[in-house]
């Protein structure tokens, strides 16, 4: 029984990490209809910046804030300079550009900070809560991660479903021409979308780095699982991303604990296929397809 509880707690804490990445991907998708592989490269860079700031200043929260601001700026710059040129073309071109940007960012990070992974501080203690004399597999830092993820998911839901700004962003993504005619500043919405997505991504990076270390390639497996979680929950639904992340985390944790680590990636595949066969738009998708 304790094994099941430990694995469940582990699943929730790792799932929250995947959900954080998934939220950034959902945000980009809703704002621009692009699958952004570069997200992971961008928040890897902002986390490195945070690491340098923390080493230089000694303050974690200063580094935290700097990373978030850098995220906003980096996202806006990438959109203005790069993605703007491919947004109107074939969607695959934007995917390839994003892929190229990811590779470039990882290589640049290796050149600037080196390929050796380094330690990154957590926001709060990682010592598990003491319940009945034993420490459980859930720490104050895990609580922080889960709360942040839930908070961001709720804020995004409110933004997109309940605010005028969110409506403008969705309109700009779905029908840029018509939105322009109705007075929406489409290009500004795209820039805002990228900036916000990079902001959420930076947050994700800060939450991920303590448990997988910080290095140019250290986040790669998390990115893949984050993308899987986003697809699982439905790319249009922030709450779906959160639920998808936790579902994925739980599944992988149970499989690793009861069957062995070698089946983990296969388990991710099975979960995704099972969900997508039943709901091809992800768990939370509500659109019915037109089947002829």
């Amino acid at each position: 029984m304790t094994k099941f509880i430990d694995l469940t707690l582990n699943g929730i804490s790792t799932g929250a990490v995947y959900a954080a990445v998934a939220l950034a991907l959902v945000l980009i998708w809703r704002a621009t209809r692009i699958v952004n592989f570069a997200q992971g490269g961008m928040f890897m860079v902002t986390t490195f910046i945070a690491s340098s700031v923390i080493s230089a200043s000694g303050s974690y929260w200063l580094g935290f804030a700097v990373a978030l601001v850098c995220g906003l700026v980096l996202g806006a710059i990438v959109e203005r300079l790069l993605m703007r040129r491919v947004e109107s073309g074939p969607p695959l071109n934007a995917v390839i550009v994003a892929l190229g940007l990811l590779i470039l960012l990882e290589a640049l990070a290796g050149m600037i900070w080196g390929n050796t992974p380094r330690s990154f501080p957590p926001a709060f203690s990682i010592r598990g809560y003491d319940i009945g004399g034993t420490h459980v597999l859930f720490s104050p830092n895990d609580t922080f991660t889960v709360l942040v993820v839930i908070g961001v998911a709720l804020v995004l839901r409110v933004l997109f479903q309940g605010t005028a700004l969110g409506l403008q962003m969705r309109a700009a993504a779905f029908q840029p021409e018509i939105a322009r005619m109705l007075g929406v500043r489409v290009s500004r919405m795209f820039t805002l979308g990228w900036a916000l997505a990079a902001f959420v991504g930076s947050l994700a990076g800060l939450l991920i780095a303590p448990s997988v270390f910080l290095g140019p390639n250290q986040f790669d497996p998390i990115l893949i699982f984050g993308f899987t979680a986003a697809v699982l929950g439905g790319l249009d639904h922030p709450l779906g991303a959160a639920v998808g992340g936790v579902l994925l985390g739980l599944t992988l944790s149970y499989v690793s604990g009861y069957e062995g680590a070698s089946l983990v990636t296969l388990a991710a595949l099975v979960v995704l296929i099972v969900v997508l066969m039943v709901r091809p738009g992800g768990l939370f998708s509500s659109t019915l397809e037109r089947r002829v």
Partner: protein, 433 residues
């Protein structure tokens, strides 16, 4: 009309590709008599993971070897020849390993391959190198696969076989932690399973309560560590690479789980592991979490500055490779380079590929240098170092104790102390028997 131009375009593209290919390959001359060697230089090639998830730490090794060769070259090299090392990045991808090895042998015409890194990578080129009769010197891996002088006469191992290490660590556990429950956390490949085999040869089966393999690439190891804690393991054996030693320690810290650690020399370098755990150790060296861990070594500890070999390597490091921190990986690269230089010295003034191989077969077991134990080399055995000395992390440094022990990687063979003394490094060049 359109179809013809489509055909023309396709053929045109093909021709362009072929021309580019030929142009890229132009300028490579091949000398069949003694490839890769001239009166002024001898050239080796190596494949290394310089980037990618396997790069951490390992990317320093070849640069350190190159630095040591530069040091020798400054003194005139071996028989007046500079030793060159061409380093190619294979990103730990076996397809890339095959490609760059083909390039090194067929295009760059190297004399031999040196220090090829990795088991899943290097196993893919062993057949090619042996059929082409290219010396495959001192593979950077402790797999038993290199130890086959009869079937693979051109391939030589260097570091101690993982099973040898497992046996010696296992014997220590049997003698000092009798009756305590033992758990093993190991990498799910030759490294981990080889070490586990050695542990099982020595530690009684009733003592081993849980063995948990992990997959490199899956960073969540909490299920495995939790299982080890639940099984009640009081001694935790880690056959892990540094990142996974550190990941295991993070989960142990969360759980408040503090077993006695016994860690393979592959995964214990305090600089690397400490760097990964620094922020959890209140900013100090970062080695608090592994303090007291039992480990082993076949070279003097890289922090033992009073050892003359470490002093020599540090001098070389400062002159030729100062960008990397001086740690176990750098020491590995230099010590392996010293062994290759010794082998070249033994091969004589006019080295041939077969001559180099024969030299190691005949005299390799008598070589002495920075290693604490002798080599296992003969025409049938190509194993490398024959044992290790036990060590412990004290104040963040590896301190060796108890004297070197040697054994064979088989079930019943005894573990015996080695009483030879480590020679001093020569004032210049290399010294051979």
């Amino acid at each position: 009309m359109r179809a013809t131009s489509h055909k023309a375009r396709a053929v045109g593209a093909l021709c362009a590709l072929v021309v580019a290919l030929a142009a890229a390959g132009c300028g490579s001359s091949s000398s069949s008599s003694a490839p890769g060697v001239s009166s002024t230089s001898i050239t080796f090639g190596t494949h290394q993971p310089l980037t990618g998830p396997a790069a951490p730490g390992y990317s320093e090794i070849a640069a350190a070897s190159q630095a040591f060769f530069s040091y020798l070259d400054a003194q005139g090299g071996i028989y007046g020849r500079k030793v060159n090392l061409i380093i190619k990045n294979d990103e730990y991808n076996p397809t890339q390993t095959v490609n760059v090895t083909h390039q090194l042998v067929l295009s760059e015409n190297v004399f031999g391959i040196f220090e090829g890194l990795g088991t899943p990578t290097h196993t893919k080129v062993v057949g090619f190198l042996n059929s082409e009769k290219v010396p495959d010197m001192f593979v950077a891996s402790g797999c038993a696969c290199w130890d086959n002088g009869s079937a693979q006469p051109y391939t030589f191992g260097w570091q101690p076989n993982y099973t040898i290490e497992g046996k010696i660590l296992g014997q220590y556990i049997k003698q000092h932690f009798a009756g305590k429950k033992v758990g093993v956390f190991y990498q799910d490949d030759d490294f981990g399973t080889g070490g586990l085999t050695g542990i099982r040869y020595e530690v009684p089966a009733s003592q081993i309560v849980s063995t948990q393999p992990y997959q490199p690439g899956v960073t969540n190891v909490a299920p495995q560590i939790t299982a080890l804690k639940s099984a009640g393991a009081e001694v935790l054996v880690d056959f892990t690479v540094p990142i996974y030693t550190a990941l295991g320690q993070l989960t142990s810290f969360t759980l408040g789980y503090k077993p006695q650690l016994v860690v393979s020399n592959v995964g214990i370098d305090p600089t690397t592991v400490g760097g990964l755990l620094k922020t959890f150790s209140k900013g100090k060296a970062g080695t608090e979490l592994i303090e007291g861990a039992v480990t082993d070594g076949y070279l003097p500890s890289s922090t033992e500055t009073s050892n003359p070999w470490i002093a020599l390597f540090k001098k070389v490091h400062n002159s030729y490779d100062s960008s990397a921190p001086f740690d176990g990986n750098v020491e590995y690269g230099m010590a392996n380079a010293y062994t290759l230089a010794q082998a070249l010295q033994l091969a004589g003034k006019n080295p041939t590929r077969q001559g180099l191989v024969n030299a190691v077969n005949e005299k390799g077991s008598k070589l002495s240098g920075p290693g604490l134990v002798p080599f296992r080399y003969s025409s049938t055995v190509h194993g490398g170092y024959s044992g290790v000395e036990l060590g412990q992390i004290r104040n963040g440094k590896i301190v060796l104790f108890g004297g070197p022990l040697v054994t064979e990687p088989t079930a019943g063979s005894p573990i015996t102390p080695y009483t030879g003394t480590q020679p001093a490094p020569p004032a210049s060049g290399v010294s051979v028997p």
